[in-house]
Amino acid sequence: MSAPPVEAKPALAALARQALAQDESAARTLVAELYPLVMKIVRAHRPRRLDEEDLAQMVFGRIFAHLEQYSGGVPLEHWVSRIAVNTCLNALRAEQRRPEVRHADLTEEEEAVVEKLAASRPADDPAERVAARDLAQRLLERLSPADRLLLTLLDLEGCSVDEVRQRTGWNQSLIKVRAFRARRKLRGQLHELLEGGKR
């Protein structure tokens, strides 16, 4: 599954120019138009300790602080996405704590998902799908910020390597090597979780 392409809105670039010219109403409209996009990225990549609204505000702060550097060469949404991703990455780097995920800490639904996966049975229940997403996010939190961001984009959001390259600015080989190593770590953790359940 690939993430839906961001629809380019030509009016956004015009709004950005007006906002740069101190047009307050244009700046407000710009914030309102970009809010869903920024919030989607913030929700997917924010550290636990940070409130999503606070992080979104930080992202908008950076957007406006650098708005004069926007050349118009790419759609504004792409430019904003990159700023949002980098702001989240910096926030993740500031978070030192990487909580361990133990079998005893799993919720009932998460436990059911792990057991079904181990038995190669499908997890069809919507609650189990949500639990699978939560568990995947908790496991991702154990990784380094960059690895976490990368696998969230690739494996949870279903972005292609090229889309990740556009959003992060990393080169393709770095993305592939990093993803390979991070997945290997996560497989090990999942295996440990299963072993913990058998004891």
Partner: protein, 95 residues
Amino acid sequence: MKPDLWDQLTRVARQAPAEPNPEMPLGFDTRVLATMPQAVADEDSLDLLRLLRRALACAAVLMLISLTVRFAVGTPGPANELAYIEQAVQLAWTP
């Protein structure tokens, strides 16, 4: 072949219902605009900090290079050392 649990987990996770599009809370745009000058100032000071950090790193590298060069040039090699000794002996014996 062992099943790839991570791959299976993320395949199930991607089928989870998407969260509804978030609505902008009332006053969020006002808060963003109110903190804008502060955000710009913060970014400026961050840029300055990054510049200072780079300048410090460059200065440290230059200092190391200059110390290395100075040490290499200033330390007499074995040939120089012999010449010094010879000169000293000659001076001592010269009336």
